[in-house]
Subunit: 301 residues, 2 copies
């Protein structure tokens, strides 16, 4: 069966919207547990302004404090050259750049036009050139914008092209607020992979309206093999209090494992880490398999 | 696009495990709202022993109290001839019989062997013969048993055959505790529809481990067009406190509507009924679109 790559974003996408600051040693522990479990890539933190995201103000301490596994890529979100310098100083393997396909969403998110964001990325790419640090280009709101609504596929393709011209090694299409439908995912993933068959393409789905795993299955059918997900399903939606955010890593691995997809991940270690996450955070998290058990956890008669 | 039939089970499958009894007039109101919204079939109640399911002790009052729409099928679960007599006296359109594919689950559920269940169904079928009341044959644990684990496809096919020999007009395959994977759903649905291409086949999925909508999409791909779901996602899993039960009706309609599937249902009326359900029950329900809004509910800049 096909090899599927599991990439966890809990430590960045999940933690950034939590009410409470998670202590640095706990963050390091969870990243280490994800590494031990065999996740292929971990978005460890974000080198943004500590004022903008106080929860990740310990980015450098986390990135330097974690154990490194040779088969795991340790990535960090970076908004500008200053962030790239901080990330590089900590031995970050991969820089994640983010721009929204939607102008309105990009303005709301980073107070820049899409063009201005790319101009800044040019400086980051120049700085990183020759360092061996990889660049992943993320496109937020690739499947729809909560302000503008529909996003045209051509616009997504054009921005993928812009990222590749910039020197990005890989691309992520993010369904930032859970607007993608399975049909749309199949169509856009097919278009991208037809145009760039060798592109390392990640799909980053949110389960805001329940379609997350249906979208994963359609993306796999269209040829995608790399997926972002968040331990415990941690994360949320800034526009809808109480709504679900990122798809859940261990639930994703559970579904794919029982269809015999090949992954490098130990599901039981993930489940154990997710239960610990719920304990540390002190509130319920969206993960469903930690509640219901695996489908082969049978009950005594 | 394909016509998809939406069948709601909230008033039976959802309410039976609620802690509080819902007043009869409220039940009637919700069934009427589902009818008004254009749902194709409603499982209105269950004519079982009031001691076994106290929440549905008002089965006759609900079934006689509701408004009838000519395009809606009003169904009820019935365990035996006595239940069938009560259902028939209330003008029930369709009797739903349930047996588990798994012997152990059937013993746990109804204290009978599968063979004994079918013997009882013979009497029900004889009683209903000539009444014009339709029979739907449901197979619980069609995709796995929480006690026995895997269920063989051949066993499911044999029991479908038994139901059809009994005179069943339609069949439901139920994933009673959310054990089905998309791959398995595609395979079993394809097998059933290859053998009985004209069979009105319903898929009844639970979202216990997050795979509900991925399973729906695979079932549609394999040719299925009829789905059970529960308003608000009401329901649960007797083996896992806090776990999700039935897939959510309005979230299902939302997903399919935005892929241009043809349904008879008004999504906004469903959403309004689901919000009212949450208010009446006084606790959060699993529906996600009532929290996050529809994908075309845009935010002001």
């Amino acid at each position: 069966m096909k090899r599927i790559y599991i990439q966890d974003v809990m430590a960045r996408d999940g933690l950034q919207i939590e009410d409470q600051f998670m202590p640095t040693e706990k963050k390091i522990d969870f990243v280490n547990r994800l590494s031990d479990a065999g996740v292929d890539k971990i978005e460890v933190t974000s080198f943004v302004s500590p004022k903008a995201v106080p929860n990740l103000q310990d980015a450098a301490d986390v990135m330097t404090g974690i154990k490194r596994h040779k088969d795991v890529v340790y990535a960090a979100l970076v908004p500008n050259v200053k962030g790239a310098e901080r990330a590089a100083a900590c031995g970050t393997d991969e820089i994640n750049l983010v721009v929204s396909v939607s102008e309105t969403h990009n303005q709301k998110n980073v107070r820049r036009s899409v063009h201005e964001s790319f101009a800044g990325f040019q400086d980051v790419a120049k700085y990183l050139s020759g360092t061996g640090i990889r660049i992943n280009g993320s496109l937020a709101t690739s499947f729809g914008c909560p302000f503008e609504g529909k996003v045209r596929d051509e616009k997504v393709l054009r921005l993928v092209d812009d990222y590749l011209k910039l020197g990005a090694d890989s691309i992520t299409l993010a369904d930032t607020t859970g607007m993608a439908t399975p049909k749309q995912v199949n169509r856009l993933t097919t278009e991208i992979l037809n145009r760039w068959p060798e592109l390392p393409l990640t799909l980053h789905f949110h389960n805001t309206r329940g379609m997350g795993f249906a979208n994963v299955m359609e993306a796999i059918r269209a040829g995608a093999v790399r997926f972002d997900a968040s331990l415990g399903g941690l994360g949320g939606c800034p526009f809808a209090p109480g709504a679900t955010g990122n798809i859940c890593t261990e639930d994703l691995v559970h579904m794919l494992a029982f269809m015999d997809y090949h992954m490098n991940v130990d599901l039981d270690q993930l489940l154990s880490a997710s239960k610990e996450l719920e304990t540390v955070l002190g509130h319920e998290i969206p993960g469903q398999v930690i509640k219901a058990g695996k489908i082969n956890d049978l009950h005594a008669v």
